[in-house]
Amino acid sequence: MPEVRVASFDRFRRSHEFWLLMVILGLCASLGFANAQFLTMQNLFDLLTSYAFVGILALGLLVVLIAGGIDISFTATASVAQYVTLSLANAYGANWISVFAIAIGIGGALGALNAIFIQKLRIPSIIVSVATLNIFYGLLIFFTGGKYIYSLPDWFATGIFWFEFEWGKDSSYGVNLQILALALAFLVTWLLLNRTNIGRQIYAMGGNADAAQRLGFHVFGLNILVYCYMGVMAGIASLIQAQLAQSVAPTVLVGKELDVVAAVVLGGASLMGGVGTVFGTFLGLTLLAVLQNGIVLLGVSSYWSPFFVGLVILISVSATAWSQRERRTRSARQ
């Protein structure tokens, strides 16, 4: 059906994602010209590996935003999951499956705690998550004294390296733990949101919570699921971050929340709920990574990085708002 394809392309051309894609392509082309290092296989794999942590968290946050909530406690959740899991692994021994199971369990439990406060006591999610961020982080720092863990199990420190291939001279590439986890997180989140009824209920609930209640959605259950999903993502992200850093530092993750929020918001998710896509989040994450990486490659002081990230968010959100207003006035005049 060519008509349908034309119509959906037309819709895509008007979407936030389309403009984001154009901006990213433009940015990549100019960075490629300015610095030969940018468009190399090496840089691509480095970016994927180092942004996997932010990307996995962004997918969790995307689901929360679509459901109409917000959560910023995930970095504290990740810090707790990371510290507890790897301390246990050091003390009692473990394998890949058991460390991920523990981290996911801790993340999910802390997420559920958020959901219970938000749903049962009807406290706004932003307030609950500001509070739990401080509680989780405060307890962690108190019990660990802020001490780093440098010795990790050997198998954990080695990581994985699959589908190895040669590219150019003396360089081999492959799928490492970070890239694998990021890819799986994208796949699972996409399946959840677009191919299951639960995902569509999450969208619906974010669009009109009252209507969801009236149609007999299990609103409490959906919210538990959403915040648990965020927690699970935080648990997974925490382990791949520790594996990359080859250490556990209880103080370094908290403070990265705004990078994650930036990626999701750049990707077009709305803080009002009901709006946002996995593809958009992928583009938002890409734009964030390209920007921050480009600034470094251009030799600009990395102190400028937050400035440019902020500027791009402001421009992108303004452009979307402006184009929506234009479309509205145009349709009003017809």
Binding site: A7, S8, R11, N194, R195, T196, N197, I198, G199, R200, Q201, Y203, A204, G206, G207, N208, D210, A211, A212, R214, L215, G216, F217, G274, V275, A332, R333
Partner: protein, 488 residues
């Protein structure tokens, strides 16, 4: 159903109500706010449980009480006034929402689209199944809500105030659709404030008052006057106002006013002490014209004269400063801050006059100001510190009026002042409008309802497709003539 009662905290919301709904009938449920209509609907749809002793029988099977799952299984579907759609999802998903319920399973987009298309074909509409519901007009959204009910296999379709935000053309289309549904054997229950529509569409009308059933009547045995008498226990007389009341000097004059794509070549005069009714379909330019007079949509062409002097209105602050006030169509979203107190809302427009020492608000001045307006407009509120959202629709409308009357306006523009307000509260609002006019205010009243503009104005204007087509004394025209001018 019979013997249905419901109490909320000792207050009887419903007392021993019996109701019989037949297959393929159109039944209207009328009553003032607080008469128990909503409670009755909630009991039928299973959201609330009736008290023990009531019986609900559906197709011969008796239920002591219903819950939302049973009532959906029995084919009972309610379309609430807000439609309960998901604006961020597609038309197909909204219509085939039942696909999304139940335990975890995968989503079949193709079958969802097919369901949506088949249902839309039954209703005779054709929306793009992949369009977002937020892209549709209000009338379009309502059709989607009807499709969703049909897709869920509705046998009894309850529509709560379905015509509140529709134009006359759209109402006609809805009425045609309802007769289609009736032919298909679906029972439609209409809950409406608009009595002329009720009589147009219904076969039987059930009237509720103060939680008790007044009676069920065949629609052809009653008229609007009798119906409003049954609803309120009082009788109301429509009358054309005496034209000699409007004899003041011209306050506001508009010459050849136009705004690209919205209205053009509009010339009119408003006199002190005159109530001018303005009607027309949605999209006829009437609201845009009013917003131009209030400085919110500056015109591209033409002049606005106040007391014979040309003025320019670029912002609403300028309009307020010059004594022009505007009560918006949608008082809930534009006219009131629902979570704040009556006091805060009434004083919002006149804060600068209540300032005492140090530039702070003087509490006593504020209190006496509020007390004066609460008394003057008869706002029923136990304590002005209560939030506005706790008041009834009629009282909310009075708070909005108080807010603007407090500015001492010379020109008052009222956009659909009685939408969502019940009959006896409406009468109170008309009384306020008449009093304002007697005090020398020029009132421009915009309304969809032709009887409203005809019987409560001195002069009637009709706009159609952006042009002012009729300007006639109320005494010299009739409902039929105006209806023709609006829809021609």
């Amino acid at each position: 159903m019979s013997g249905i009662s419901k109490r909320f905290g000792g207050v009887h919301a419903l007392r021993d109500v019996d109701l019989t709904l037949e297959v393929g009938e159109v039944h209207c449920l009328v009553g003032e706010n607080g008469s128990g209509k909503s409670t009755l609907i909630k009991i039928i749809s299973g959201v609330e449980a009736a008290e023990p002793g009531g019986r609900i029988t559906i197709s011969g099977k008796e239920y002591p009480r219903l819950n939302p799952v049973y009532s959906t299984q029995c084919g009972i579907q309610v379309i609430y006034q807000d439609l309960s759609l998901f604006p961020n999802l597609t038309v197909a998903e909204n219509i085939a929402m039942a696909h999304h319920l139940g335990g975890l399973h995968s989503v079949n987009w193709a079958s969802m689209r097919a369901t949506a298309k088949a249902t839309m074909a039954r209703v005779g509409v054709e929306f793009d199944p992949d369009a977002k519901v937020s892209e549709l007009s209000i009338a379009g959204r309502q059709l989607v809500a009807i499709c969703r009910a049909l897709a869920a296999d509705a046998k009894l379709l309850i529509m709560d105030e379905p015509t509140a935000s529709l134009t006359r053309h759209e109402v006609n289309a809805l009425i045609a659709l309802v007769s289609e549904l009736k032919r298909a054997g679906i029972c439609v229950v209409f809950v409406s404030h608009r009595l002329d529509e009720v009589l147009e569409i219904a076969e039987r009308v059930t009237v509720l008052r103060d939680g008790a059933k007044v009676g069920t009547f065949a629609a052809d045995t009653i008229d609007g006057r009798k119906l409003s008498h049954l609803m309120t226990g009082k009788s109301f007389e429509y009358q054309v106002q005496a034209p000699e009341l409007a004899a003041g000097p011209v306050v506001l004059e508009v010459k050849d006013l136009g705004r690209q794509g919205e209205y053009e070549d509009v010339s009119l005069q408003l006199r002190a002490g005159e109530v001018v009714g303005l009607t027309g379909l949605l999209g006829s330019g009437r609201t845009e014209l009013a917003l131009s007079l209030f400085g919110m949509k500056p015109p591209d062409r033409g002049t606005i004269l106040l007391d014979g002097q040309p003025i320019e209105l670029r912002t609403n602050a300028e309009a307020i400063h010059r004594g022009i006030a505007y009560v918006s169509e949608d008082r809930l979203t534009l006219g009131l801050i629902l979570n704040q107190s009556v006091t805060a809302n009434i004083t919002l427009t006149v804060l600068e006059h209540l300032v005492g020492a140090l530039g702070l608000i003087a509490a006593r001045a504020r209190q006496s100001h509020v007390a004066r307006w609460v008394a003057e407009l008869g706002i029923k509120v136990s304590n002005p510190a209560n939030a506005v959202k706790t008041l009834s629709g009629g009282n909310q409308q009075r708070v909005v009026l108080a807010k603007w009357m407090a500015t001492g306006p010379r020109v008052l523009i009222l956009d659909s002042p009685t939408v969502g307000v019940d009959i006896s509260a409406k009468d109170g609002i008309y009384e306020i409008i008449r009093r304002l006019a007697r005090d020398g205010v020029a009132v421009l009243m915009i309304s969809d309802e032709i009887p409203e503009v005809l019987y409560h104005s001195h002069r009637v204007l009709v706009m159609r497709e952006g042009r002012l087509t009729t300007d006639v004394a109320a005494a010299a025209t009739s409902e039929d003539a105006l209806r023709q001018a609006v829809n021609a």
